[in-house]
Symmetry: C2
Subunit: 198 residues, 2 copies
DNA sequence: TGACAATGTTACCGATCGGTACGTATTCTG
DNA sequence: CAGAATACGTACCGATCGGTAACATTGTCA
């Protein structure tokens, strides 16, 4: 056992080609858009070759779906993270997330929500990218409804939809306006809607 | 004079190739996405040939820019139209537009705002599509501020940004959720924000 | 009739797209 | 060490991308 090779404690670049592809694809798809990025660009930037990509993923569409599932997971983590600092206080939890989002969305190179962008890039309902992204959005809607119920809203579903509109609006307007865009008002507006609905 | 050929009183299809290309490109770009549509598809569906396209437009990018300028003009018309029914009442004017938008955005095949979609499809600031779309959004923001001033908001710029978030949120969530999506709450939420800000 | 502008026809260009057949390293196991 | 897996690279495929050259056809107006 003691002679067993250590499993590379700090691998600056992942050993496995599939992982490198997945990470590179994530960055490129998010920053430049999915349709704008070809598989050639992904593999070359990942330092691997095309057959490695197609051994790990059935097709580009499957790689896209994997990217969106990764994005969904990271989103959930970002969304739920403030909950640790505000246990049993869904309102503070949600507002903390929105405040952080507002800051990010007003940064100049903000590129919005990868899932929202995917719905727009792939409007066909049958496309895997569309399906994964829409499913994630439906989960988010349900989660918001749950939080609105917990914070004692008169009509939780209604408030959840209002907040969802503000949220999605921040995603897209962040890209269009950059620094000083309308997303800076996200916190103010969300608080106003919540106060008027409890 | 009487022998002069009548100028085709009801031309079901426009005579000029450039016009047909422009109209076909508008429909295809809007419904399927810009990057998803090739020039071949445009000319074949328009019933013309590729050289005709490139005689009227320098490049595909220029055709895209033309599409977005057309979209911007049609948007302005839709946005300003309710003003005729509500002269000197910017609040009623705006709410009338939002109510119509909410209805459209909850229809199942809604495809959002072509300008917003273009910003997402072309995130590079140098791209003509990006520039035309962003300029249109800045004009809209300024128009909203003007309306909020006229309706006597305490902080017109703040309210305008809040309404803009709801608006953009309706555009994108309409595509993701379709029938019964959050956009149905657009009118309620806009009224709530306005009432809390006057 | 003749000149002119607009459009169609056909065939093509280099570049890039997503995807693959096939051979070569590397590594784990006996 | 042998030998089977496992992981990867070289070189290539047909299709499509945006874009063009050269020429024929049409309708309009003088």
């Amino acid at each position: 056992m003691r002679t067993k090779p250590i499993p590379e404690s700090a691998p600056e670049t992942p050993r496995r080609a599939a992982d490198r592809i997945r990470e590179t694809a994530f960055d490129l798809f998010y920053r430049e858009g999915i349709r704008a990025v070809g598989v050639e660009e992904i593999v070359s930037q990942a330092g691997v070759t095309k057959p490695s990509l197609y051994r790990a993923f059935e097709s580009k569409d499957e790689l896209i779906a994997a990217y969106l599932r990764d994005y969904d997971q990271r989103f959930r983590e970002r969304f739920e993270a403030p909950g640790a600092e505000h246990p049993r206080d869904p309102k503070a939890h949600l507002l903390a997330y929105l405040d952080r989002l507002a800051t990010r969305a007003c940064h100049d190179d903000y590129r919005g929500c990868g899932l929202t962008n995917a719905v727009i890039e792939y409007p066909e309902r049958e496309h895997p990218a569309h399906q994964v992204a829409v499913q994630s959005k439906q989960n988010l809607r349900e989660r918001l409804r749950e939080m609105c119920r917990e914070m004692g809203a008169r009509d939780p579903d209604e408030l959840a939809d209002g907040l969802l509109l503000l949220l999605e609006g921040s995603y897209v307007s962040g890209q269009a306006f950059g620094e000083g865009g309308p997303a800076r008002m996200l916190g103010v507006m969300a608080r106003r809607l919540i106060e008027a609905s409890i």
